[in-house]
């Protein structure tokens, strides 16, 4: 119940900046950076897939990071089973995971810009969380995000 409430608050916060005048990200003091990241990524994953139960495949994340993510989302160790693949900064996808037509996110803006297969990024910059999606890539993958994400969608 507490987790749902927090996610609801996160959703409301993400929805707050519909017209781009307020970019507010929920930062909970009791969570560290990786926990907060995993909460946000969980929300994004659910909205991308369009369902609450989502499986995420994390590439090149250490055990501590995976444990933090597990508190908020389902982690799978096989990319085949995953709904979302979350690439770590500048790491490439394993060959076994290529061509699976999965939704791919990254935590590197540069990687997001350069790699056409990556539809969005969540990354930390200057201690602030940043979210970005490619309009064209979302379209290509027939993904429609809620309106609250409009401020994060770029013409790329």
């Amino acid at each position: 119940m507490a987790v749902l409430m927090k996610i609801l608050i996160l959703l409301l916060t993400l929805a707050y900046g519909i017209y781009g005048n307020n970019y507010l990200f929920l930062m909970e003091k009791e969570l560290n950076e990786i926990e907060l990241e995993s909460k946000i990524v969980a929300k994004i994953a659910q909205d991308l897939v369009g369902q609450n139960e989502v499986k995420v495949y994390l590439t090149h994340y250490n055990i501590e990071e995976q444990e933090a993510y597990k508190k908020f989302i389902n982690i799978t160790s096989h990319c085949v089973e995953a709904d979302i693949i979350f690439l770590k900064k500048n790491k490439t996808l394993d060959s076994s995971c290529e061509g699976l037509n999965k939704i791919i996110l990254t935590n590197s803006y540069q990687q997001f810009v350069e790699d056409d297969t990556i539809i969005g990024a969540f990354f930390w910059a200057k201690a602030r969380p940043n979210i970005v999606f490619s309009k064209n890539r979302l379209k290509q993958n027939n993904i429609t995000l809620p309106q609250s994400y409009n401020q994060f969608i770029e013409d790329l």
Binding site: E28, Q110, A127, N130, F152, E154
Partner: protein
């Protein structure tokens, strides 16, 4: 003067002092709590003064560089295409990075209204030009209207305490925003300093309270000790020690001075034993105390079976005080005291009364007169009151 009243008066003053002290300590402590916000804010202002000045100077420097470009076209596009210029801006920003100044960078708004990095002077977490920047508060937008520096205090970003935004203005418009992020360490340092101050104040308060407790304890010990020193253990009346102190401060004009002696007391001791004698002393004392007026008359046992009475005059008349003595004397004659089960005896007293002790040069002289009159009463057959008849009502 009644010792009880003496101590009561001083106790009132004492407790008044204690209450004032405790209230003062309370105000002091609450004052520090109230001042906390203001003082921390002042400390922060002092510690960020230089950073703010430097940031303002950098902004002016960048404005100067832009002015010197002599560009008629869109300056923003010009800068975005000019890596050399970007590099020079970066070189201006990089030197201000310190342990407390975590990041320093220039942000611009693109044609779609999206914020992006122009240059980043930071050593760590360095962002590439045109990387998207998600503004985390309304101040990023406000600065484009106000064209004045703004401070953002962070409550939610854990690593940063505040961000100082300075507009870089070209042709009267905000073209870039210089952002300087201060590390949370600065706040923590200020918190640490404040904690030390608070602990210091608390320590002082605790020390004061400890001394206060020790003082209160000593006062009570003093009071108890004095009480023991002044009170006769057997009868509960004041004793010779009290008389010695009281005679220094008493205004003899306010009293008649009587010296009372229990008749044949030695005989009572011899016949019935010392225990019976003690009972008589206790009972007679009790009887006298009951018949004297509270807070006006004073009873002192100054010898074995001898008592000194200070009976307060009523507006310089002796009548009321004489009535007291008269009542004591007469009623005592009809009173019987039980010295052992089923054994009652009567006692009589002899009293010498100095009606004008104030006329004597000292208490000693006044007492001597009363004592002499007591002697006359004894010699005159006992069971008598003898007054000095110089002045009577």
């Amino acid at each position: 003067m009644n010792i009880k009243f003496f101590f009561q008066q001083n106790l009132v003053l004492f407790w008044g002092f204690i209450i004032v002290l405790i209230v003062s300590i309370g105000i002091l402590y609450l004052g520090t709590l109230k001042l906390e916000k203001k003082l921390k804010s002042e400390l922060l202002a002092i510690s960020t003064e230089d950073m703010i000045a430097i940031s303002n100077n950098i902004s002016k420097k960048i404005e100067e560089i832009l002015k010197n470009q002599n560009i008629d076209n869109d300056m923003l596009d010009f800068v975005l295409d000019n890596s050399e210029l970007q590099y020079s801006f970066e070189n201006i920003l990089t030197p201000i990075i310190t342990k407390n100044i975590k990041f320093a960078y220039l942000i611009y708004k693109d044609s779609s209204g999206v914020f992006r990095y122009l240059v980043d002077g930071s050593y760590i977490d360095k962002m590439e030009t045109k990387t998207k920047f998600d503004a985390d508060s309304k101040e990023w937008f406000e600065i484009y209207n106000t064209k004045k520096p703004i401070i953002i205090k962070h409550n939610t970003i854990q690593a940063l305490s505040m961000t100082y935004l300075v507009p870089v203005i070209y042709n009267d418009n905000v073209i870039f925003v210089l952002a300087v992020d201060l590390s949370i360490d600065k706040f923590k340092d200020i918190e640490d300093v404040w904690d030390i101050v608070q602990y210091g104040v608390l320590a002082v308060i605790i020390v004061i309270l400890i001394f206060l407790c020790a003082l209160i304890f000593q006062i009570f010990r003093f009071y108890k000790m004095h009480k023991a020193v002044y009170i006769d253990k057997l009868t509960g009346a004041y004793n010779r020690n009290y008389l010695h102190d009281f005679e220094q401060v008493v205004n003899l004009n306010q009293y008649i001075l009587a010296v009372l002696d229990i008749d044949y007391f030695k005989k009572i001791n011899d016949i019935y034993g010392h225990d019976a004698g003690d009972i008589i002393l206790k009972n007679v004392t009790q009887y006298l105390q009951q018949n004297l007026r509270d807070d006006e008359d004073i009873l002192i046992r100054y010898g074995g079976e001898e008592f000194c009475l200070f009976v307060k005059k009523d507006r310089n008349h002796n009548k009321a005080s004489l009535n007291v003595l008269d009542r004591i004397f007469n009623n005592l004659q009809t009173n019987k005291f039980e010295i052992m089960p089923n054994k009652l005896i009567q006692v009589t007293v002899s009293i010498g009364v100095n009606l004008e002790p104030g006329n004597s040069e000292s208490f000693k002289d006044a007492f001597a007169i009363a004592d002499k009159l007591l002697y006359e009463a004894k010699n005159g057959g006992r069971n008598k009151i003898v007054l000095n008849a110089d002045k009577t009502d």
